[in-house]
Structure formats: C-alpha cells, structure tokens
C-alpha cells in the first residue's frame, strides 16, 4: 500500500513538472509532421551527399575534361544527369558541389555563431561601456551594403581559397547574432539567479557560460539553424556571381551560374536545374525546421 502511494506521488510529480528543453522540441515535431519529415529528410540528404562524395565518387574522374561527350543528355551513355560544356559528369559535380556548399556553410555558421554568441553574452552581461562600444560598431556595420563589400574583399585577398572565403563571409555574419544574443542576455543577466551566483562569488566567466548560456539555448538553436540556411544562400549566391569558389571546385552556386549563358538556360536544363532544385529543397527544409524550433521556443506559438 505504501509502495503504491509512493508511486502515484512520483507519477504526479513527473506530470506536473513543466517539460523542458528537448522534450518541448520533440513534442512540437511530433505535432508538426512536415517539420519532422523536413528534419529527417535534410539529415538523410546531407549524410547521403557526404557518403557519396567522399567514398563512392572519384573526384578526378568527374572533373576530367572530355570534349567528345560535351552536352550529353541525361541518361545517355551512363551520365545520370548528363554532361556539361567540357563533358564532365553533372551528377558527380552536383554531389561534390553540394558537399562543398554544405561544408562551407557549416564552417561559417560555427565560426560566426561562436564569435556572435560569445560577444553577445559579454555585452549583455557587463552592459555599460563595453555594450555601448560594440553596439555602435555593430549598428554601423549592419547598415553597410554587405554583399558588395564581401565581393570587393574577395577580389583583394591575394591567396584565395576555401578557408579565406569562409573567414571573409564569417567576418560579416556574426553581427546580427551578437545583437540578438545581447538583447536577450541583457534582460537575463538582471535575473535573481545571476545575482545569487555573484553573491556566492562565482567567477564572471562561469556565470556567463555555465549560468547564462544554457538559459539562452532555445533561442540559440533557432538562430543557428536559420543562420545555417542563410549561409548556404550567401555562399551559393557569391559562387553564382563568380566570387565564391573557383570553377575548378564545384559548388551549387557555380553549377547554377552556368545558366548565365542563355543557350544553357533555355535548352540545356540538366546543367543548372538539378542544382537549383537541390538548393531550393535544402533551403525550404532547413528554414522549415528552423520555424518549428522557433515555435517550440515560444510558449505562445506552440502547437504541441
């Protein structure tokens, strides 16, 4: 009898405690089947791209120029998606391009968000002069015509490669994250638990990154997801204009940029359309997951 009572009390407790963190997200995704589907689909797509690009496709063979086979139509002589102007296999280029674009976007996202989040928390926690100083800088840079300045910087950098591209784009992407994190950290840092930590003599560093940071996590997941989608867009956009990756390293953007040639755009659809559709699917999927995460981070909008 006593045992049974204890059990009901436990049950009662677990039911009344509010669901936290990952539980809320799971519930939201269970409720929104499309978000669940997008999430699993994006993960599956990314894994497939990385596996095929790293182990199955021979990069040398794909990039070999073979003029006899130029503009082969899809399905003819073993080319699943046809061949381009130089007779290179489009399917292989598509997969390698997708891998490059995704890797670059992931690197930019990590770099920009680490800087943005760290700075944002520091600004929000200390406030005062540090906050004012960085806010002035951020406010100024955020109004700049970023795309133009990135293009100018890209043409200036002497030894230009993938690493340089990542750093250049990341240098202009941390500001909006920093501004958002700062505004949340500013109100969070005035809460009682932070003051309590201070009274107990916890170091500022520990308060900021062990106390404050976890309490911003729901906001940060949303921000990182949406930033990732944005960064895929920026890299492919730059490559599309011809200022991203060099033509020898395919990216989804360079594949689409072949469509700038009116003949290819109008009659050689297999060269640019698959890459466009892949980008579209990626962007819609990642953004949809991001929106579902945003809903679960805000109690007012939750479906589940």
């Amino acid at each position: 009898m006593a045992n049974k009572n204890k059990k009901t009390v436990e049950n009662f407790k677990s039911e009344s405690s509010p669901p936290t963190g990952i539980q809320v997200v799971l519930r939201e995704f269970k409720k929104d089947k499309l978000a669940m589907f997008s999430f699993l689909g994006i993960i599956a797509l990314m894994v497939a791209v990385f596996v095929i690009a790293s182990w199955i496709i021979d990069k040398e063979a794909v990039m070999k120029i073979n003029l006899i086979e130029r503009f082969t139509e899809p399905g003819v002589s073993g080319y699943i998606l046809g061949a381009d102007e130089a007779g290179r296999d489009m399917f292989g280029q598509l997969i390698i391009g997708a891998k490059n674009s995704l890797l670059i976007a992931i690197a930019i996202t990590i770099l920009a968000n680490v800087v943005g989040i760290t700075l944002g928390i520091i600004m929000g926690y200390y406030g005062g002069f540090i906050d004012n100083f960085f806010m002035r800088i951020i406010d100024f840079f955020i109004t700049l015509p970023t795309l133009m300045i990135i293009i100018v910087v890209v043409t200036i950098v002497p030894k230009y490669g993938i690493t340089e591209l990542i750093f250049i784009i990341a240098a202009f992407q941390w500001m909006s994250t920093a501004r958002l994190v700062r505004s949340k950290a500013l109100s969070e840092a005035r809460r009682d638990y932070i003051s309590a930590s201070k009274t107990m003599g916890t170091s500022d560093f520990a308060i900021m990154f062990k106390g404050l940071l976890p309490n911003l996590s729901s906001l940060l997941i949303v921000e990182v997801t949406l930033n990732f989608a944005g960064n895929v867009g920026i890299e492919t956009g730059l490559s599309f204009l011809g200022f991203g990756l060099p033509p020898s390293t395919p990216s989804l953007g360079t594949l689409i940029s072949y469509a700038m040639n009116p003949i290819i755009l109008s009659s050689k659809w297999w060269i640019w359309l698959p890459a466009s559709i892949l980008i579209l699917v990626l962007m819609l999927g990642i953004n949809y997951v991001g929106q579902a995460l945003r809903r679960s981070a805000d109690a007012k909008q939750r479906l589940g």
């Binding site: 015509p145 970023t146 293009i151 100018v152 002497p158 011809g242 689409i256 466009s276 980008i279």
Partner: protein
C-alpha cells in the same frame, strides 16, 4: 520630433566618414591599377608611369583620400578608365534604370503584400490564411537568384511571355508611345520577381498585428457599440495596423537596392548592380568606390527614413 530627426542626421555624418575611409582603404588594396589593362607590348612603360604620376598614384594615402573625398562631396568621382568617361555620368545613366526598377517593385510589393497580409490576419487559421503563410514562407526561404532563373526559364524561354534581357528593343524610336510601352514590358518580369521577395516581412507583420488586434479593448468597444465587424476591420483595425507598415518603406527600398546585383545579373538589366560586377571584373576602381559609397549612403538614408517615419507614426519612439 525635429530634435529626433536632427539627432539622427548628425549620427549619420561620422558613419559616412568611416564608410568612406573604409571603402578608400579597400580600393587601394586592389591588385593591379587601372592602367595595367592598358599595357600592350607596344605601349611605352614611361607613358604608363606618366599617367600614374598624373593621377596622383605616388602621393601619400591621406593626400589621395583628401582629394578623393573633397571631389566626391561635389559629385565628382573621377574618371572611369575603362569607359573613358566621368564616373558620375556613367553611374547617373545606370542609376536611373535601377531606380525605375526599384520604384516599380516597391509599388508592387505594397500592392501584393497589404491585401495578402490583411486577408491572412482576418481569416486567421482558414485555408486562405494557410496558403498565404505558405507563400510567404517560400518567398522567405528561396534564394533570390534561383527564383529569378526559374522565372526567366519558365516565363521567358518556355512560355515566351516576357523578354529575357535588356531594357528596351533597339528597333524602336525613343519618344514614341510604343517605346515607353516596350520599356515597361521589359520591366515587368524583373519587377514582379523582385517584388515577390520583398513581400514576406510586410505580410507576416500585418498578419500578426491584425490577429493581435482582434482581442484588443478598442475592438471590443467598437463591437459592443454595434459597429458591424466588417466596418471594424476596414476602419479601426486596418488603420491601426497599417501605420507601422509605412516604416518598412526605408528598409524595403534599401533591401531592393542591395538585391540589384543579383536581379540585374540574371536579367542582363544594365543598372548599377550590373555595372558593379562589370567594374569589379575590369578593375575599374574609381567606379567601384563610387558605387559602394553610393550604396552605403543609400542604405544609411533608408534606415534614417524608416526611423523618421516610425517616430512620426509612433510617438513612443521619440526619445529625447
């Protein structure tokens, strides 16, 4: 009111100064100089040297900066080396086309976004609302250049409804009615695709604003006084929700100008964005600096415009 506006304008001055300095330093770092393109086996190296000295290439940087900025303030951005014309006249010609496209798109953005936003908010959670939300989600997520290419492919090449490049057919005489119609016809496809991307923010804002307004006290009061719901929407809610939309104007314009690089590249539309890409490729750095400066200035102006409109519309913004 005026205090806020003047303070806001005063903040712009140091921003413009830093912007100009930044752009000048960037331009100076560019590899090669405008004259490298002129070198052929026949040119005399001394002649190139002479040109460099004449253009002030060996002056200290602050002297060059001072010369550049004082001239720029008077609208003189120097000479374009590839076009062999003053930069101001080249840009002026292109700017007209870019502004025409942007203006046309801004009008379309408001024409599309306001009805959609109002309908979505009013018929919240119905099929119509869900369709509009889906549309605004897709227009938010799709990369600009992919949308433009698909539009050119479908409406330009496949259906052949619209011309795919340029601003006007060369065969027509300027000044005739057909000439202007043709010009407008060339503007349609880029204008529409440009506008679709700009609608997202306004639709979402209006929608949430109207949904929130439904439960507000002033709406309840109006209803309890016997005003039909239709009138409450058109007179009370609409007016209240629409005012902040005006403040989007500045950001919409700067957003459209910033996006001009993509749209003009895809549609081969000879505006400032295309000029920028062409100048980067030919290292025409006097044109590049002038363009970045102009875009930066317009972006600052856009946020100024939005802030001023917002401070007129919403008195709480005016901080003294």
């Amino acid at each position: 009111m005026w205090k806020t506006v003047i303070r806001r304008i005063l903040i712009m001055i140091p921003q413009l100064f830093i912007l100009s300095l930044l752009i000048f330093i960037l331009a100076k770092q560019m590899p090669g100089d405008p004259f490298t393109g002129l070198i052929t086996p026949e040119t005399d190296p001394n002649r190139i040297e002479e040109l460099r000295i004449k253009a002030g290439f060996y002056d200290p940087w602050y002297v060059q900066y001072y010369n550049w900025i004082t001239n720029a303030a008077q609208g003189d951005f120097g000479q374009s080396y590839t076009h062999e014309k003053p930069v101001a006249s080249i840009i002026g010609d292109r700017a007209e086309k870019t502004f025409a496209l942007a203006l046309f798109s801004v009008i379309l953005v408001y024409l599309i976004a306001i009805p959609l936003g109002v309908i979505a908010g009013r018929y919240h959670d119905t099929f119509v609302d869900k369709t509009i939300v889906l549309y605004s989600f897709i227009s938010f997520a799709i990369p600009a250049f992919v949308l433009y290419l698909i539009f050119v492919f479908v409406f330009g090449y496949r259906l052949m409804w619209f011309p795919t490049s340029g601003t006007v057919d060369v065969s027509l005489d300027p000044g005739t009615w057909e000439y202007y119609w043709n010009k407008f016809y060339h503007l349609l496809l880029p204008g529409i695709s440009y506008a679709i991307l700009g609608t997202t923010g306004i639709i979402q804002y209006l929608r949430t604003e109207i949904i929130d307004a439904k439960t507000m006290d002033y709406v309840k009061t109006a209803r309890s006084k016997g005003i039909p719901m239709k009138k409450v929407y058109s007179r009370h809610i609409f007016r209240n929700s629409l005012l902040p939309i005006a403040a989007f104007l500045g950001f919409t314009i700067t957003g459209l100008l910033g996006g001009s690089i993509f749209i003009e590249s895809v549609f081969a539309y000879p505006g400032m964005g295309k000029l920028f890409i062409d100048s980067i490729l030919s290292r025409d750095y006097s044109v590049i600096t002038a363009l970045v400066m102009l875009y930066g200035f317009l972006a600052l102006l856009g946020s100024l415009l939005s802030d001023i409109i917002l401070s007129i519309v919403d008195p709480r913004i005016r901080i003294d």
